[in-house]
């Protein structure tokens, strides 16, 4: 049996789904919590959580992206001491991954990329804005929108080439979508 046949049969087992979800949640948590690039002018930073979400959505499909993206970023919030945001993060980033996965499920072209970016940004930034608005006012909540958009820009700018590079270097991954 070839490697590809082996992989396409193994992905139908519940154990494969559990294993892939667990590993991708860990990947998303580490990309969010550990891998950060400082932005010199603002002294802020960009985390790579959205990169992991774009990668998962393109490579593993919408449902995996919803669960891994949502739970991975929620765990990162928990460990970083922002546990109060974890339930909101689960839905914001989970839906972000789900939308990207659904839009780019069939074919990855420029229209799909732009549309997925816009949909993901609106949903993710929108959920955070509405929740923050209810929690501490819609005026102060506006301050978070530029950061969320920047996160998505980094996510698509790095996530797409990353998915292509991983597919090229490790072809069996193409059979892991479920």
């Amino acid at each position: 049996m070839s490697d590809n046949e082996n992989n396409s049969s193994i992905k139908n087992f519940p154990a494969f789904k559990i294993a892939s979800l667990a590993i991708l949640i860990a990947v998303t948590t580490v990309f969010t919590y550990i891998i950060r690039i400082p932005i010199a002018p603002t002294r802020g930073y960009i985390n790579f959580g959205d990169v992991a979400i774009f990668f998962t959505a393109i490579t593993f499909g919408p449902m995996t992206a919803f669960l891994a993206g949502g739970l991975g970023t929620a765990l990162a919030d928990l460990f970083a001491g922002y546990a109060q945001w974890a339930p909101i993060t689960f839905f914001a980033h989970g839906l972000q991954g789900l939308l990207i996965g659904l839009i780019l499920r069939k074919k990855i072209n420029i229209i799909g990329i732009v549309f997925s970016f816009l949909a993901a940004t609106v949903v993710m930034a929108g959920i955070y804005y509405i929740t923050a608005g209810f929690m501490y006012g819609f005026g102060p909540a506006l301050a978070e929108i530029p950061g969320n958009i920047l996160q998505n820009v980094a996510g698509i700018a790095v996530g797409l080439p990353l998915a292509a590079a991983v597919r090229k270097a490790y072809p069996p991954i193409q059979n892991y979508k479920w």
Binding site: P14, F16, I18, A19, A26, Y136, G137, P140, L142, V158
Partner: protein, 254 residues
């Protein structure tokens, strides 16, 4: 990397049932969104701070305040201009900066965001992640979902080690990475990310085979080593429920 926010201790909150604490946490968050008077919110908030000081100590109680400080600053700067009703408190060059209504609303928002933050902080500082997952299972979280989170939690520290090793290996091959532009930094990081992802993805088939061998996916109901016993639970829930209801009633009446 810190993969647990649990702080060792011997307080009543450390000993309390995680299912009970989960229920109370949910009630606390709802309570902060109810249209309570400022006095009621302040009493409730002070109670939480005192519980935190008793359970975790004074200095550890300061941590959530430090984390929420940037948001508080934003609230103080951006909330008052949206409220023009009520008596004027601060006027600069004929422009109303702060009214009594704006001040009350700002205090309410600060109490809400700080109160919710401190509630979550107390919960996750006195409840281990494993106990939290067991509590969620008791609240009918499917076994497979709990298993996924548990495996992910076990895998995160190893992945950090893998990431650091790969990063060190790539650093040895690249030139000086000090004082470089943002996109150059990302470009330099790219091979590390590819290596980390391939290493992680390669472990999926191995992990799934290990899970298969342990009978995951079988229709037979699994037994569990760690469970939460239910004996004291009903009594604790009843007492806490009554106390919580009384607190809410008193708070609404104040």
């Amino acid at each position: 990397m810190i993969t647990s926010t649990f702080i060792q201790g011997n307080s009543f909150l450390h000993k309390a049932d995680p299912r009970l604490k989960t229920s109370i946490l949910l009630c606390t968050v709802i309570l902060f969104f109810l249209p309570l008077s400022i006095t009621a919110m302040f009493i409730f908030f002070t109670g939480l701070v005192l519980i935190s000081i008793y359970s975790l100590g004074f200095f550890k109680t300061l941590l959530p305040f430090k984390m929420v400080l940037p948001i508080i600053i934003f609230v103080i700067i951006l909330t008052p201009p949206f409220f023009k009703d009520g008596a004027s408190i601060l006027i600069i060059k004929n422009i109303i900066i702060l009214t009594s209504e704006g001040l009350l609303h700002t205090i309410r928002l600060i109490l809400r965001v700080t109160g919710i933050t401190i509630s979550f902080y107390i919960f996750f500082s006195t409840t281990s992640i494993n106990n939290f997952i067991l509590a969620l299972e008791w609240f009918k979280l499917p076994y497979k979902a709990a298993l996924v989170i548990t495996i992910a939690l076990r895998y995160i520290p190893s992945m950090v080690i893998i990431y650091n090793n790969i990063q060190d290996a790539h650093k040895l091959r690249s030139s000086n990475t000090q004082k470089i532009y943002f996109w150059k930094k990302i470009n330099n990081m790219f091979p590390t990310l590819v290596s980390v992802l391939i290493h992680s993805i390669k472990s999926i088939p191995i992990l799934s085979m290990a899970l298969e061998l342990r009978g995951i996916g079988s229709a037979t109901k699994r037994s569990q080593f760690n469970i939460i016993k239910s004996n004291k639970m009903i009594l604790q829930i009843t007492i806490s429920g009554v106390i919580l209801l009384l607190v809410i009633l008193v708070a609404l009446l104040i």
